[in-house]
């Protein structure tokens, strides 16, 4: 029983990290119709910037998370304004462009910080553990679950209970009608793009408590985020939450119960999900 509970908690904490990354990707794809493959690189950039703030300069971990998010958001704004806004509805070109930018961002990161990986880091307040069914469970994972929950609540409130959220949902449903009603949808879209990238960069620092920091994170985390969006559905915060929890828990129990098939369990879950609901569990039509 204790092993079951631990694996469940591990799955939820892992899923929370994935939610922080995938929620932004899902919103960007849903609102703007942009498949932004630099999203994983934003996670990586946030993580490295956060490492510099928290470890290299010894400042506050929470400040590091904030600045990590802002750095990712600002870089993404440059990418959107400079490149992506010219490629709306051109999916192939978006994929090629953003894939190329991923390599540029990875190599720029290596140029600035070096290729050496950094050990996981956290704030002293979270460096302890709590006892759960006789096991010691790290506070960092509890914090990740709490932060994921708070963020999910905040995003749900933003998209469902605010005027801005109504604009975002309207833009996802019918772009032309929304703009016809006088809503400055391009501005809203840019705001969503910034928010999505901010979340990725913020996730980079929060996730660094467990995953550490290294340049390869850009691709490793992107792949998982894409799987979450496929399963959860595009443009839905609820879908991103559901998808990330499915992946987190399936991955956790898959490795524990079927270690020989550990490489395949999440992709098997993706195949099953697509067979049952091709649009994703809670997805909107793109």
């Amino acid at each position: 029983m204790d092993v079951f509970v631990l694996n469940l908690l591990n799955g939820i904490s892992w899923g929370s990290i994935l939610f922080l990354v995938a929620s932004g990707l899902s919103l960007i794809l849903g609102v703007m119709g942009i498949l932004n493959l630099t999203h994983g690189a934003m996670y990586m950039v946030g993580a490295f910037v956060g490492w510099s703030i928290a470890v290299q300069y010894g400042l506050s971990f929470w400040l590091a998370a904030l600045i990590g998010g802002l750095s990712a958001g600002l870089i993404s704004l440059v990418i959107e304004r400079g490149f992506l806004r010219h490629l709306y509805k051109q999916l192939n070109e978006q994929v090629l462009l953003t894939f190329g930018l991923v390599h540029i961002l990875i190599n720029s990161t290596i140029w600035i910080w070096g290729a050496r990986s950094r050990a996981p880091f956290t704030t002293p307040f979270l460096s302890g553990s709590v006892s759960i069914m006789g096991w010691s469970y790290p506070m960092t994972r509890i914090a990740i679950i709490v932060i994921g929950g708070l963020l999910a609540t905040g995003l749900w409130w933003l998209t469902n209970k605010t005027r801005v959220g109504a604009m975002v949902r309207a833009g996802m449903d019918d772009r032309e009608m929304t703009m016809g009603l006088g809503i400055n949808l391009p501005l809203v879209s840019v705001g969503v793009f910034f928010l999505g990238a901010f979340l990725a960069g913020f996730a980079g620092v929060i996730g660094a408590q467990v995953l550490g920091v290294y340049p390869g994170l850009a691709m490793d985390i992107l792949l998982l985020a894409l799987v979450v969006v496929i399963i959860g559905g595009v443009g839905s915060v609820g879908g991103a939450l559901l998808g990330s929890m499915v992946i987190g828990i399936v991955d956790s129990f898959g490795k524990a119960l079927f270690p020989n098939f550990a490489m395949f369990t999440i992709y098997l879950a993706m195949v099953v999900s697509l067979s049952v609901r091709p649009r994703g569990l809670l997805g909107r039509k793109i």
């Binding site: 290596i110 050990a119 790290p138 550490g212 390869g216 524990a256 270690p259 490489m263």
Partner: protein, 394 residues
Amino acid sequence: MKKKMLLTKLVVFGCIVTLALWSLGVVYAEKSASVEPIKIGALLDFTGVVADLGPRFEAGIKLRLEEANYEVAGRPIQLILEDGGTDVNISFDKAKKLIERDKVTVMIGPLMGGIQLGLAPYLDEQRVLNFSLINIEFPVLKERSNWIGYPGSTYSAYKTMGYYAYDELGYRTMMTSGSDYAAGYSYLGGVADAFKERGGKIIEQQWVPLGTLDFSPYLVATKNADAVAIFFASAGAVARYITQHRGLGVKVPILVTDISSGLEEDTLQELGDKVLGMKGVDNYCWSLKTPMNEKFVAAFEAKYGRKPGGAELNAYVDTSIILAGLEATGGDASFDKLRPAILGLQIETPQGPTSFTPSGHAVVNRYIFEVKYIDGRYVLDPIRMYPNQVDPRD
């Protein structure tokens, strides 16, 4: 009048002779200056999952070549570096370029075991002498005639930890947790076989997919063994595993293979108390106390501002072996002369004496290290030496 004509003829003749002698001298000087350089290729990885190692290997190679003034046996040396991208297709293209276009006769790398296996038939066919950068897959060494395996094979590399765990730590049960790929099976296979050879029992072997970020399911499944021996290839994986292991309060002690790379200098300081007392095996750490190593560490620090790790040392020694071999052949870099010359070498290196078996497997010392806190820093302190290690299948 006659005397004047004779004098004129003598002067003209003298000028012609002088001009002829001078011309011969110029030709000779030009010929000496155009001695063909010895081309050494280095197929390293500056991008991909092991991108952190490429610059480290490069540092070791260049330090050694600079010490030799880029010259050996009267011939200049030209180093040509390429990025294999930790990808077999890219590595193959770059190897072709080094061999067929750049005409290198000696090549350092590739690093990864899977890529070595993939390129082995082509490299063997081209008769280019290849040097491994870390440990080599034994089938490559045994079945191909063009490899020099320094510091040894993946299977033999960390066997001594299996012996140490049983003989000196008194462990009787062990589990292993490692990356699910060729080198992972070899490294931990060697540890497990050595442990079993002494009478120990391997309870379980976990194989973790490359690129795994969250080890918690494997940690929760850790059996109640005396120790868990680990090997992970991915960047930062050892630090992640240890942090997650400590966070979940897993009590089974960790034995780290490849400890000098897995807990390299900066990572060691970052992990701090989490790794205090941890033991592991490797062929090198800067803390080895030999005069030659102290000189090497000082030179490396003076040039690069940091201490050398195992990667830097391996590349440095690979280059030293190449230079020693070329000295022995008088600068003849052809495969048929250089390979036997190298196999006959016995040289001192910063990590100890090195010689070779007929198949090209290096015979080296292996060390057990323990993480200690000395003079305000966490260091890998060598606590046991196993001399002259080879692969038992050789």
